[in-house]
Symmetry: C2
Subunit: 439 residues, 2 copies
């Protein structure tokens, strides 16, 4: 009797082809984070439900993997990295000090209805600077997003807004009491299109058509402008005036001046790395100032691959100390999906550049030494453990897309190198020269 090997619905195994790509991507991101002086932290996957739920919604509650442990504690698996970070910051404030810049790459779990390409377990990648109200921190985060994505080689544009602009407009129009509903609806502009959003703003949110028109005309100011300066002039010329709006303009201007000083550039002559997009609202109430989303130039339809913004207080549920900050989250799975579509970093079955066969048996010790020498030279090498025919080994190398296969030549002590890419073969290479031949 055997048990049928299977995974839970909504979960998936990660095979080497995908894992090698994911690993390379995460390692590249980490290098960029460290280069910017961000440090890693980790928190437990399991926490008290009370901690994770905080003032959470019923929606969050339903998504929790929540249960009682053997000690009768009400516990759950984390569903994001923001709540644990808030708890962490409150708990360790004295040890970590502020300002504090951290990143956290870890799995989270959500008992959602599984959808195409979305799993109940997935990796999140968050980074924040907390303990500062300085707008230079906003620019640091945006600059790091640009550096991270540039290093990954994806052409992108970071679309920046400031929540105070929309708040100011709503205030001027006398509809700030409905700002939450308005922002959530505006946030869907790109996804649903102008027509549907106008309908929702009118029927569901209950704005009159003059206000809807003003709002959408304001948002439209950032369309087709030549420069961020031109957008800001357009906002100033729009004719609405109030303190919140003015503050929003001033903050946006400051962030952009820092971004200019950072000298953001894109790879491969892509578009300017950042722009102002007055339609960026972000669904969460949490953000209070700068907000941003990031679009892949070659695949804008997959939506934002990195979003975030500035908040006034990270951890108010856990501590009385105000912790203002700014942060972002990179959508690892979306970028991996995009890599797939765009053919970047094609999946591979192995890291090995060379397969060294280990037969015939009487030449085995030499083969083992050859593999050792290649590895010492930093060349990823698989040493075959089998005593099989060369034909079998070629099949294996081919299947795993290992670019070179090395086997003893007829001359004692020498080796042949066959390229699995173009089929060419170099005969009678001395052991010491193998690494050099593989370049």
């Amino acid at each position: 009797m055997t048990i049928e090997p299977r995974v839970l619905k909504g979960f998936t195994d990660h095979l080497p082809d995908k894992m090698l790509v994911r690993r390379e991507m995460l390692s590249s991101l980490e290098q960029t984070f460290l280069l910017h002086g961000f440090v890693p932290i980790d928190t437990p996957a399991l926490e008290y439900s009370e901690i994770l739920l905080g003032k959470g919604s019923q929606e969050t509650d339903k998504q929790l993997y929540r249960f009682e442990d053997n000690g009768g504690r009400d516990i759950a698996l984390r569903f994001d990295l923001t709540v644990p970070f808030a708890r962490f910051a409150a708990q360790h404030l004295h040890e970590i000090g502020t300002p504090f810049r951290r990143y956290h790459i870890a799995p989270v779990w959500r008992a959602e209805k599984p959808q195409r390409g979305r799993y109940r377990e997935f990796i999140q990648c968050d980074f924040d600077i907390i303990g500062t109200t300085s707008k230079l921190a906003d620019a640091e985060i945006i600059g790091m997003i640009n550096a991270s994505l540039s290093k990954l080689g994806v052409s992108h544009q970071i679309r920046i807004n400031n929540r105070k602009l929309l708040a100011g407009v709503l205030d001027s129009l006398g509809i700030s009491d409905r700002s939450q509903a308005v922002l959530r609806t505006v946030d869907k502009l790109e996804k649903l299109g102008q027509e549907i959003v106008i309908k929702e703003l009118t029927t569901e949110v209950g704005l009159n058509s003059r206000n809807v028109d003003s709002l959408l005309r304001f948002i439209g100011l950032s369309n087709g402008q030549e420069s961020v300066g031109a957008v800001i002039s357009a906002i100033e010329d729009f004719g609405l005036n109030n303190e919140i709006l003015a503050q929003g303009i001033s903050e946006l201007r400051e962030v952009i001046s820092y971004l200019d000083a950072l000298g953001l550039v894109t790879q491969n002559g892509g578009p300017t790395p950042f722009c102002i997009d007055l339609g960026i609202a972000r669904g969460l109430d949490y953000y209070t100032s700068t907000v941003f989303e990031t679009t892949l130039t070659d695949l804008p339809e997959i939506g934002s691959i990195c979003s975030g913004g500035r908040y006034d207080n990270l951890a108010e549920i856990y501590t009385k100390q105000a912790l203002p900050g700014v942060g972002a989250s990179i959508g690892i799975d979306r970028i991996l999906g995009a890599f797939d579509v765009l053919g970047k970093i094609p999946p591979k079955q192995t890291s090995a550049r060379a397969l060294v066969v280990s037969s015939p048996i009487e030449r085995r010790a030499q083969c083992i030494r050859a593999a050792s020498i290649l590895r010492s030279a930093g060349i990823s090498t698989e040493l075959s453990t089998q005593d099989t025919r060369l034909k079998q080994e070629l099949k294996y190398a081919n299947r795993k897309s290992i670019p070179f296969i090395i086997f003893p030549s007829e001359e004692e002590g020498l080796f042949n190198i066959k390229s699995m890419i173009d089929g060419t073969q170099k005969d009678n290479v001395r052991m010491e020269n193998l690494a050099q031949e593989l370049g």
Copy 2:
């Protein structure tokens, strides 16, 4: 009302100082694994309890974080990486092919009584070659352990045995019916000492004193020998003869000949990287041939930091296809603990080599540019987002052990570099030369 920020009993947060060391260690290990042609996989943290328990013991059951999900499924968090790998191998055999060499670095959860330095959530790091009975695979695994630990810079010795040797001896003595109990007791030799083990073998396992004596004399054959060859001669001269013992000797000899060909060396003139230790039994019934443990030369008392062995069948619960293989597990937490004790890779608060201040405000754009230039040169740099006095910044750099602080000099456009290590200062450095000055 705030919620008290706290973690569950037996769990811990990982602060940047420890995380930076752990990250470096795992990254070093992964590089070695990839160099040897091993590939990463990942499996879900949650699985059907039925899958995880398999033919598991009651002990395992008690340690499981097990619960019912919203769909009424009986699920649990994985407690090791071996069971999920067996399930994975059975499920994906056709896609992965054999021989298959994988590594898996991931957290596991055990609802054990928390002990000093042991947590209910910890990282495991496993690697295996499956689908081959070749003893060259055993040597590949042992060779990779040596390469991994050498790259980490820890002096170590891998102690190798073959289960068939002890099995042969027990057979010759006519006590192979009690082999499980004997092996488990012998496994405790190093921990409890000879005297207690003799007592246990006599009273609990029920061996007569002549057999206990023969057994311990046999195990003692590997003590104080000059070479592995001398140990093998001593075994052959011991006077016991049977087929299992002979097979054990032949297998051990073969593995060692491959290790010789691999040319294992230690760093810093440590002891020979491997030896035969006839006392290595390993508690698990699972192993059938080669077994090994690894001791830190400078800290043997913490026990084995990397153990494993050869098994006949990995996944018999999930598939009828026999999957022989050989694997090992590196004790990440033990090595990190040893690093702490031995003062290797001292913990640090940040990855940053330089802190660039961003005040006075009128020089801020220059400071930002300077940070950008340093990062482009690959120097990990924290750009202060604060507008504070230099004294405050020095305090911050000191607290975080950032080695250099860079601030605008009195000369427009130039910078001063202060070393936080020796207090020296270099004045009036041009922006373009900052990276070079930091070396």
